[in-house]
């Protein structure tokens, strides 16, 4: 998408494996899934695996130490074999978990689906109930329930399922509300699908992965609560469970301290298995929330690896008459497989004082990456593999301190999307004044004076009032003017403008382009203008560089490019662009 070329996300490799296969391919996924499968097998095969029947006691084994012959994990105060009791207990644990997860998912997911899809009165009512349940002190309720039903595990787990159902409700409802706004739901409506089919084919699919992931965490919680309830004595003393085993061992802790170790370990590891499986699932099924930042060491090793592949590149000197020179710039991203995908392949670029230089290309051509690299504000996961950015002959890339000193002072930035580039938590005035004081030593009233004048200059009618407003209270055009004001306030030599008018309406775009031209002329500002719009280039730029797939294909003065393009790609671009252009206007 041309309009959103700002961040180049690595393209996901095309995979059609089933979730299960992907899960098994993941080392952690394999480990924890195997553990849980093992657990289910243990529960099913309990009669074979347990050394003793569930109720067998051996008076000689009371408080037996671990590794006593016949009692591998020792015995408890009544002469039960701890190993066998834990094996038998896995059945109750799994049943409890199944009850919790099915009750809560059935209630929560269904009501969330209906509430999110139909909204209206059902949503209001369901949300009230959900809030009410969320406000319930769950454990206290379980205790109250105990007074009524006695130690009845299925009832307790069922109630716990109801208590946690709102978590499903909230999750599913919010996803469904988002999905409902997706265009493919509209498309399905227009295609004549009934609501039932839309929910069945489209909505259910969208909530499936989150439900599975969430279920994993709910199952973890279920184990914790099942054991906890048994542990505080609200469980069924008649049944073998991990929690009652822990309780029994805990009561006899002075007689056999090791007794508490086994159930504690088993409970913790099993919960861990569910939690980690949930994390792996969310990695596999959803875009990962993992921190993509590489440590300095990783970064160095990746860059070294890539340099070894490319070989030594002779670095050219900066051009003498340029204020800004880029030499041999290569930018890459790490793919999920650990490979480096290069998005800018060693480009050279010069900018003279007062020059407005257009950087044109379609989405994914790497033009924004160059703009960001100039300012040292590439996304944190980006890798500068090689190259230099010279400002007046000094290499900013080589020295982060120089880059910081230049950024915002010598080189300023105008972003694409005006609304998202202002901090929503501060007023316009606060962030402008604060930003100016941060780069130019001056008092706040001084900064305020300068900025009020400048706001007036960029075409804001009532600067005093606008300064008191929050970003969400002003229009996109006004926000862009505020950002331009912020960029020029520090009196930079160069402005890097990344698609500065793409998000604006065409009439506003024309005004903003006029403003940029005037500012450049008034202040002798050089400008790198990143855009996909050849009309904008024709309107504003002196020189043009055309980019394709991370390389420069053509670089010339603006008239030459438009009159006699030499590269076939430029020709093609021009042709497409002109095909949708308005003819001359009869005035």
């Amino acid at each position: 998408m041309a309009a959103h070329s700002a961040t180049v996300a690595p393209v996901a490799p095309i995979r059609r494996e089933s979730t299960l296969l992907q899960l098994l391919r993941n080392r952690q996924g394999l480990i924890w899934l195997s553990y849980l499968v093992l657990l289910v097998a243990v529960a099913l095969l309990a009669p074979t695996l347990a050394l003793y029947d569930v109720n067998v006691t051996d008076l000689a084994a009371t408080n037996a130490k671990p590794f006593t012959p016949g009692h591998p994990l020792g015995g408890d105060g009544a002469g039960y074999d701890i190993y066998s009791r834990l094996i038998w207990g896995s059945r109750q644990t799994l049943i409890a978990v199944l009850i919790v997860v099915s009750v809560s998912a059935a209630i929560g997911a269904t009501s969330g689906l209906v509430a999110g899809f139909y909204r209206g009165i059902f949503e209001t009512a369901a949300s009230f109930v959900s809030d009410a349940i969320m406000s319930l002190p769950g454990v206290v309720l379980l205790i109250a329930l105990y007074a009524v039903t006695g130690p009845n595990l299925p009832a307790a787990m069922g109630v716990f399922g109801v208590i946690v159902a709102p978590t499903y409700y909230r999750l599913v409802r919010s996803i469904v509300i988002t999905v409902r706004k997706e265009l493919y739901i509209d498309a399905a409506r227009v295609s004549g699908l009934s609501d039932l089919r839309i929910v069945g084919r489209h909505v259910l699919w969208a909530v499936r992965a989150p439900i599975i992931i969430h279920s994993s965490f709910i199952m973890a919680a279920g184990i914790g609560i099942e054991s906890g309830v048994s542990f505080i004595g609200l469980g069924n003393p008649a049944a073998a469970s991990w929690g009652t085993t822990l309780q029994r061992s805990f009561n006899g802790i002075y007689n056999n301290p090791w007794g508490v170790v086994w159930p504690s370990l088993l409970i913790s590891i099993t919960i861990l298995a569910f939690v980690l499986l949930g994390n792996v699932l969310s990695d596999v099924l959803q875009s990962s929330s993992r921190n993509k930042v590489l440590s300095a060491r990783q970064r160095r090793s990746v860059i070294a690896r890539s340099a070894a592949v490319i070989g030594e590149v002779a670095t050219a000197e900066p051009s003498k008459d340029s204020i800004l020179s880029i030499r041999g710039l290569r930018i890459g991203y790490l793919t999920p497989d650990g490979e480096v995908r290069e998005v800018v392949h060693g480009v050279d670029f010069d900018l003279r004082r007062g020059e407005i230089h257009g950087l044109v290309g379609e989405s994914g051509s790497g033009k924004s990456q160059i703009a960001f690299a100039t300012l040292g504000i590439l996304p944190r996961e980006a890798l500068v593999l090689d190259g230099s950015v010279f400002l007046n002959g000094e290499d900013l890339m080589a020295d982060p301190r120089k880059m910081r000193a230049a950024r915002g002072r010598r080189i300023a930035y105008i972003p694409q999307e005006p609304m998202s580039n202002l901090d929503p938590s501060f007023t316009v005035g606060a962030q402008l004044i604060y930003g100016l004081c941060a780069v130019r030593p001056m008092s706040r009233p001084e900064a305020r004076e300068i900025l009020l004048a400048l706001l007036q200059r960029v075409g804001i009618k009532d600067p005093e009032r606008v300064m008191k407003m929050y970003p969400h209270e002003i229009s996109g055009g006004m926000a862009q003017r505020v950002l331009i004001c912020g960029a020029v306030a520090s009196e930079p030599d160069i402005i890097v403008a990344d698609e500065p008018t793409t998000a604006l309406d065409v009439t506003v775009q024309a005004e903003v382009l006029d403003l940029l031209r005037e500012l450049s002329e008034e202040r002798g500002l050089a400008m790198i203008l990143v855009t996909h719009n050849l009309g904008v280039v024709a309107d504003l730029c002196h020189t043009v560089t055309v980019m394709k797939d991370g390389r420069f294909v053509e670089n010339a003065g603006v008239e030459q490019i438009f009159d006699s393009p030499s590269d076939p790609y430029t020709v093609e671009l021009l042709r497409s662009s002109r095909s949708v252009e308005l003819m001359e206007i009869a005035s």
């Binding site: 095309i14 509209d186 227009v190 295609s191 009309g535 024709a538 438009f562 252009e581 206007i585």
Partner: protein, 271 residues
């Protein structure tokens, strides 16, 4: 003159807000003839998309009427609306969100057919893929394996599946690169020639609209400023707003653009 396919009379569309309703469309009238392309152009907030959604039954009509072949279709039941699926279709702006990423192209294309109870199925899918210029093996693949332009072709194929007489195209090319945009526009024109479908073509770009439309309606804050033949609206705009819009669109030629800019600045000073 042929009777209109689609007819909007004093259309008012509004959404509930805190303590009342805000009308975003305030009394819009136009007719659409069979096989015609009506371009609707306007800036953000002009209501152009809302009109399209009202025609599709996705936005609430609070006043006036929309009729299709003389039959009232505003505020009809969901079931009745479903019966219109074969007549009125849509292509949306964002080809990324308008295709369900979990479904193969074939199942995306079969979905409207199945909903309408049409039997032809796979054969029709191949025909559709062919019509929009996609390889016939595309059916077994997923949307994420296609580029933006190709996805928009899939969306167009879906709209064509039931052989509709009107397609509402809501900014169908604005998410695409320029070169792709040109080819997709050409596809729209070719398909119209082949099937005789009528388009309501919504865009913020007067250039794009003029490229494809027979007639153009210029919208501003929920009202039509000007409606007329495409050549007239773009070349000899009658309404000052249309003129502003037109002069603001930059030309991919430095000299001509300089001229246009001066013209625009002059107009701005005068106004």
């Amino acid at each position: 003159m042929t009777p209109p396919l689609l007819s909007l009379k004093d259309l008012v569309v509004g959404f509930p807000t805190r303590g009342g309703h805000t009308n975003v469309i305030r009394g819009v009238n136009f007719d659409l003839a069979p096989g015609e392309t009506l371009g609707m152009v306007g800036e953000s907030g002009s209501g152009k998309t809302t009109i399209g959604r009202a025609i599709l039954g996705l936005a609430p009509v609070r006043g006036g009427s929309i009729s299709f072949r003389g039959r009232l279709i505003s505020n009809i039941s969901r079931a009745e609306r479903r019966s219109l699926a074969g007549d009125i279709q849509a292509v949306f702006q964002d080809p990324y969100s308008s295709l369900n990423p979990a479904m193969t192209v074939e199942s995306i294309l079969v979905e409207p057919l199945a909903a309408a109870g049409v039997e032809e199925g796979t054969a029709r899918v191949r025909e559709l893929l062919d019509a929009v210029g996609l390889p016939s093996d595309a059916g077994s693949r997923y949307p994420r394996e296609f580029s933006g332009g190709q996805r928009q072709r899939i969306a167009i194929a879906r709209a064509l599946a039931l052989r509709p007489s009107v397609i509402v195209c809501d900014e169908p090319t604005s998410a695409l690169d320029v070169s792709t945009q040109a080819t997709v526009l050409k596809l729209f024109r070719d398909l119209q020639q082949a099937t005789g479908v009528a388009y309501i073509f919504i865009s913020h770009d007067l250039g794009v609209v003029s490229n494809i439309s027979d007639r153009i309606a210029v919208l501003y804050q929920g009202e039509i400023m000007e409606i007329g033949e495409a050549a007239q609206v773009t070349a000899e705009p009658r309404h000052p707003y249309t003129k502003r819009l037109q002069l603001a669109a930059p030309l991919a030629d430095p000299r001509k653009q300089r001229a246009r800019r001066l013209q625009r600045q002059a107009l701005a000073k005068a106004g």
